[in-house]
């Protein structure tokens, strides 16, 4: 089996400011993200040969993208993979370029959640087995199940567990305060996080990411052409995805204290990229902290921390901006929110900037390898995308 390693590169990226963008339409955000990416890559819009478009709730086909960008009858593939949609758009573009189907492709993701007229995510699902019988489970509830069980499994009292999670929120809010494109750019204190109202016990307000609008885009080209676009392209080392068969919802063997899909996608990505010791080889990571408990378990599932040891590593500051392995250097979903189709590409935008040394106040020291982890679904029934990129071929 061949690997994607070093076959394609990202030469341009764009990302709008995330937030409750009541003053922007989905078209506005797509245009701003795409044109920032065009400019960054130094290309004209008509050089794009094909596009992969990630979006969950704004309609059908690639028309949603082709119309505002006035694409010239080129192939557009509309991708959907729940909250991992943005990474799926990137994956499609990379595979097409690697296959020789095109040389310059656009991967772009967008979500307009604040036009629904209500708080939270829409509830529409196809009429699958769980759709109308499990109608009361919100996204926070699905992840709170993992927090309850993680606390019980590791012998943490509610207070200890809450404090552990609050440290993650405090770290990400600090990083967000250095991110001009984040929705939340304010630091918070541990006490604020602990005193916040309960959303889904045991998760409080600061354990949850907000519901936001946003868009992000990448220009993907053949690796051998990359330096003709820019001197500092970012090379794709691994693109892996794991789709669970919803076994955790049905099989009592699932312990609800990890996400199996993250373990599998991570291990596969390390093998593809040739990474032996992820805890040391990875310079920085953007992971899917839709809830603080998710970031906690990801640290163990991606082998950044040994199983059961994430609490110690978090307390020791290992994942802070100055730590050995900075995680969510831009503030993560905690500060950017989660416009479903855009998030995976927003993560890659931060890793791309970090590897180019352009992350300004958030810049980590001499990074070489970056990782994004993008999760759809809930613990027990997830789809997880892990991408690894580097600044050397």
């Amino acid at each position: 089996m061949e690997s994607i390693k070093n076959k394609v590169a990202i030469v341009g990226m764009g990302c709008v400011k995330f937030g409750e963008n009541f003053d922007q339409s989905i078209d506005d955000m797509l245009i701003d993200a795409a044109y920032e990416a065009y400019a960054d890559a130094g290309i004209e819009p008509n050089q794009i040969q094909a596009a992969w478009f990630g979006n969950l709730w704004s309609g059908h086909t690639g028309q949603i993208l082709a119309t505002p960008l006035k694409l010239s009858y080129i192939p557009v593939t509309h991708t959907e993979n729940a909250c991992a949609t943005g990474s799926e758009a990137l994956r499609g573009a990379c595979y097409a370029v690697a296959a020789g189907a095109c040389d310059i492709a656009l991967a772009i993701g967008v979500e307009k959640l604040k036009d629904t007229g209500y708080m939270g995510l829409p509830q529409t699902r196809p009429n699958a087995t769980w759709s109308y019988r499990l109608a009361s489970m919100t996204a926070p509830a699905g992840f709170a199940l993992m927090a309850t069980r993680y606390f019980a499994k590791n012998g943490l009292s509610l207070e200890e567990g809450k404090k552990l999670l609050a440290q993650i929120a405090v770290k990400n809010h600090y990083n967000g305060s250095l991110s001009p494109k984040a929705q939340f750019q304010k630091e918070i204190s541990l006490e604020q996080a602990l005193k916040a109202p309960m959303v889904s016990y045991p998760l409080g307000l600061f354990d949850c990411c907000p519901v936001s609008d946003g868009a992000a885009a990448a220009i993907v080209v053949r690796a051998d052409l990359a330096k003709s676009f820019r001197p500092d392209p970012i090379y794709v080392k691994a693109l892996q995805i794991s789709q669970g068969p919803r076994e955790g919802f049905m099989n009592p063997a699932y312990d609800y204290a990890h996400v199996e899909e993250t373990r599998r996608a991570g291990a596969a990505a390390y093998a593809e990229a040739g990474i032996k010791d992820p805890a040391r080889e990875i310079s920085c990571a953007e992971v899917h902290d839709c809830f603080t408990i998710t970031e906690l378990t990801i640290m163990e599932d991606l082998q950044f921390s040994k199983e059961g040891k994430a609490p110690e590593d978090i307390a020791a500051g290992r994942y802070s901006l100055q730590g050995d392995l900075p995680v969510n250097t831009d503030g993560g979903l905690k500060c950017f929110g989660h416009p479903i189709g855009a998030t995976g590409l927003r993560m890659m935008y931060e890793v791309y900037k970090q590897l180019q040394g352009k992350a300004e106040k958030r810049q980590v020291k001499n990074p070489t390898i970056g990782l994004t982890h993008n999760q759809g679904g809930e613990p027990g029934a997830a789809v997880v995308s892990v991408a690894i990129v580097g600044n050397e071929k």
Binding site: T116, G117, Y118, M119, G120, L121, P122, Q123, T124, R125, N127, T129, S131, Y132, R133, L134, A135, S136, M137, T138, P140, A141, G142, A144, L145, M146, A147, T148, R149, A152, P197, M198, V199, S200, Y201, P202, L203, P245, E247, F249, M250, N251, P252, Y254, Y256, G380
Partner: protein, 475 residues
Amino acid sequence: MAGIISFGVHVPVHRLSRAVIGQSWESRGLPGERAVASYDEDSLTMAVAAARNCLKHFASKQVGGVYFATTTAPYLEKQNAALIAAALALPEATQTLDFSNSLRAGTSAVSAAINAINSGAAETVLVCVADMRLFAPKSHYEMFSGDGAVAFLLGKEDLIAEVEWFDSYTDEIQDMWRIEGERYIRNAEERFVQDYGYARVMRNAVGKSLKKHGAVGEKFVRFCGNFADPKAIGRIAAKFGFNPETQVDGALNQSVGDTGAAMALMNAALALECAAPGQSIFVAAYGNGCDLMSIRATEKIAGFPFHRRIGDQISQKIMMSSYSKYLIWRDLINVAQTPRPPLVERQPTPPAQWREVKGELVLNGTRCQQCGTPQYPPQRVCMICKTKDKMDLYNFSRVPAKVATFSNDYIMETLDSPVTTTVVDFEGGGRLICDMTDRKLDEIVVGMDVEMTFRKLYTVGGIHNYWWKCTPVRK
């Protein structure tokens, strides 16, 4: 003669103190409390709960019919008994009937069942009676009434009690009524209802029935009535040689309330719970006439495996913190809506519901013939050994279970916040995610014992979405 093989009762766990209702209206409350069907219960789910208690130790008995009686049927068109039979996983040869519109609906169903059994048309019939009548806020009857259900498995053999006789008298009077489109029950002037309705009809019917069978009050251990308060019932009973102090039990009125079509039969169930072999119970159900029954306990009552006695259910309660909660649960008050996704996005569709009647609706999963793993919902390809189409149906509804993990969600739109999302692990294998209902927040822990209960998740587009929830195991 036909009789009772088994019976079970369901008293909703939620109680509203009548004093609290009184305070809400700056008036005097009646003593005691009333049972309030939970926001996710209706007459159909309560009937299923009573039926499951009734069949707990009689699951192997073939049930020839399901007769459902209520004045508050969830569906006005579409048979409710068919849905009850489906929820109980009964076979298609079951005769299903709905009885309604009268406080005698429950005893009418018993009468029809006895006739079917005595004529040989049915071996056994499961009579399920439930009611949750709605009276106008601030009315006397709002305090006086309560919600509840009772189920009797009737047959010819293995009887714990025989029905010695059944009499029925009709009487046309406009005492209590409700027409289509109206939510509250109307009633005529109180003195007219009590004196020229209840007392007149009862004096006549009880007298004639006892005389017809050559019986007097001393023959019985209990007079099981409905409709009126225990004192008024006692005044009638006293005229025929009953001792109101010892033979009229006011426990249900005191702690549950008058449960409409189910009341006289719930009183009969209460009497059966303490009856000795050979003792007789007199049942007199009022409602546009009167149905009268004599039930005599057999020797088998002594060893009967009671499941969830009324006394236990009365004492295991969750007191409602306020009258406004009752108003919200019954949709009697408009409250501010959180701007959350509308439920219409999760409307069940009839084809999907129909496909799942023998699966999800009954809480049937499958068990792999190859590796033996139980799994819910029903699977065709085994999640463990991947064997295709080698599955047996496997019912989870009575399997003991424990909480694997849970969360309490405060943002989901619900009438009983928070939503307790629960991962349930079944003894012997199988896992299910559902809501936990009828729980106190401080009793929920990982590893606690739970059991399954049939509930209404919500109603949207005129469709009641029934499924299962878990609930703490209660005695």
